[in-house]
Amino acid sequence: MSRWWRRPSVVRLASSVSVMAAVELVTGPPGSNAAPMAGVSGSFAEKVSFFGLFASPRWSVFLVYALVLYGVWSLWLHRGRQIRNAASVVLARPRNIAQRGTIRWSAAVVLVVVAALLPHFVSDPFWQTAMVEQIAVYVLLALGLNVVVGFAGLLDLGFVAFYAVGAYATAWVTGALPLPPLFGVHLNPFFAIPIAIALAMLAGVLLGTPTLRLRGDYLAIVTLGFGEIIFLFANNLNGITGGSAGTGQIPHFSIHLASIKYVWGLAPVPYYYLTLAFVVLFVIAFSLLEHSRIGRAWTAIREDEVAAESLGINPLKFKVMAFAIGAASAGFAGVVTAAQTNFVNPSVFTLYFSINILVLVIFGGMGSISGAVLGAIVIQTVSMYLIHTPPAGYQPQDLYIYLGALLIVMMIFRPSGLLPSKRRRREIGLAEAGEGHMDEVLTGDTP
């Protein structure tokens, strides 16, 4: 181990330079097929201002960044412990306060009030609409998937199917599909809410009963297949779903009570309140569930299925329950999307979408309700911000390069997510201390 290139400082320097070279490539000009290396060479050779002093190739600027990174990294290694200790002393008190139950509940209430007042502060019409379609709907989906993946530990790669069931159920009962609604009655989308949720839960049971005997990665691929099958049927059963064209006649929500007539139009704010109300409802229901007998059963199954079974827990029953309950919020999300945009077509319900939702949940903190909500809000807000107001020097088509890098960095520095659940945190803490092992990933003997 005495070879010079293996010395920690050399490795650190090389890593700093490599990281900066990657950043250089990502932020550089694009290449093309005719000149595949043009982007690469341009990224390094293009002349830019050297910190406002003189014109210089990009690589020189980034070399300085790399040296700064190396310096900060080294400093952190040598002085990091002191900084961390100082920080923990400062943070200890607020942290203790934050752990108290009453404080947590009042914080939740404050957050809900803030969320309720938000439309009055957000005047940008893009954000008003995005708050419903791109943030609140994703929060609902993340909440649902968190029950399946976080609570019960079942890796579901086809979660989008339940969202699709919700959206198509809405189109069906409001009479917008080629398939005529039951008894020929065209219902208001309000009545679609219970029906869509029930159908999504039913889909959860139907999918879960045969497949949930499988474990881990076998389950992942089967759920993925289920998601694809729902997509293919939606895209090809022209006489039932309208095929790839979808359907554009879904009515808005409306209220007809005696003499009161109120039809929701294109304005997103009413949808925001409706969705917010359901988010609160789902959060309360899911946290009650988490601490109930069912929630404890899920934890037991997640941690050791064989042991759970030997304690008299029927794993299949509880897993199917997790699927159905998780599907409920996705089904409702489908209603909101269908009714607000008046339009459903299959192009939304792809595997990419399922993966994105999984990313939200794990990024936020698996198994933690507040984590799932926060993860959805953070990632969606950042994506929407970049799409709506691209900063100078940022090419919109490169969004996913940055998001990809963010995911890797995040997992390296905080693998348990933004707000991990207490139990998960303890499991990971134990694993780091060398007691027990997390989820069977081989850690090897890296220094």
Partner: protein, 317 residues
């Protein structure tokens, strides 16, 4: 109903052999990619979601090399054979390189921190997004076809079905690589260490196996096979920055079908999946090929919950 089946079985009877040959060609490619999943799974117990981008980089590398070498010439005979070799080697080398890089950047730091299994999944998805979008940025977001490497014509016929040169190339290249791999894993010292770690990492480590190095070797072998498969795939389908997504997905399905963690299972699963997909066009509309494939998967898993040859890498290969 009976009518449906008689008429479709009639189609199947007429088209069985050509569909079988085409299916086997796809199957060899699935099998080679599936081995990448199964090797990593066998050793690390995780799904390498970035494998699709390892495949993609192999495709682009061999495309650029072949394009530069061929220029405007019309290769034939020995030249074609050498070019095929070159494509396989350059694709394999790039695949191996990217696989090792992915391990170094997206996996090893997590292993050091003993991150939970799903953190690896997210980190791999991140690596995948990063890599394919970067490729789109650097190489343009179009589909590019290889120049003509060999003249495609029927080489021989089985039961009336003409077997095209392309299928022969895929089959021969595939069989050579799969046999080499099997021998390497079964006989060489590296292969032994891979199997030892897959079977019992702790004991292997105590016996002096360097686990880190073994993991790198695993990624290297899987990446090389995936990259080489991308070349064979690209001859027909061209290269584009999004090319990795579905073949990798299918290969992952194949690995699970055969029993993930098991090399021979991956080969069997790949071939079976290719053939099932191909034969299903005799029965259903093209849109429902995936439905047929996943239905077969679910049926197999219902009866054999760990796949057809569901054993661990260490015990079986």
């Amino acid at each position: 109903m009976i009518n449906y089946f008689t008429s479709h079985f009639d189609t199947l009877r007429l088209e069985f052999w050509p569909l079988l040959v085409g299916g086997l060609a796809s199957g060899f490619i699935y099998a080679m990619v599936a081995i990448g999943y199964t090797l990593v799974y066998g050793v690390l117990r995780l799904i390498n979601f970035a494998h699709s981008e390892i495949f993609m980089s192999g495709g682009f590398a061999s495309y650029f090399v072949i394009r530069a070498v061929i220029g405007t010439s019309q290769p034939s005979g020995l030249e074609s054979i050498l070019l095929i070799g070159l494509g396989v080697v350059s694709g394999g080398a790039a695949g191996a390189l990217v696989a090792v890089l992915v391990e170094r950047v997206a996996y090893r730091p997590l292993r050091r921190r003993k991150a939970p299994a799903l953190a690896y999944l997210i980190s791999a998805i991140g690596a995948s997004y990063f890599l394919f979008n970067l490729a789109g940025k650097e190489f343009g977001r179009y589909l590019y076809a290889y120049p003509t490497i060999f003249v495609n014509h029927p080489v021989f016929t089985i039961f009336g079905a003409g077997v095209q040169m392309y299928y022969v190339v895929v089959a021969i290249a595939g069989v050579i690589m799969l046999i080499t791999l099997d021998r390497v894993v079964a006989k060489s010292k590296l292969g032994r260490s891979v199997r030892a770690v897959a079977q019992d990492a702790e004991t292997a480590s105590l016996m002096g196996v360097n686990i880190d190095r073994t993991i790198v070797v695993t990624f290297l072998i899987g990446g090389a096979l995936g990259g080489a498969a991308a070349f064979l795939y690209g001859i027909t389908s061209g290269v584009i920055y999004t090319m990795g997504f579905t073949p990798a997905l299918k290969a992952f399905t194949a690995a699970v079908l055969g029993g993930i963690g098991n090399i021979r299972g991956a080969v069997l699963g790949g071939l079976l999946l290719g053939v099932v997909e191909s034969l299903s066009v005799a029965f259903v509309q093209g849109s429902y090929i995936d439905v047929a494939a996943f239905t077969v998967l679910v049926l197999v898993l219902l009866f054999r919950p760990t796949g057809i040859l569901g054993e661990r890498l260490g015990r079986s290969a």
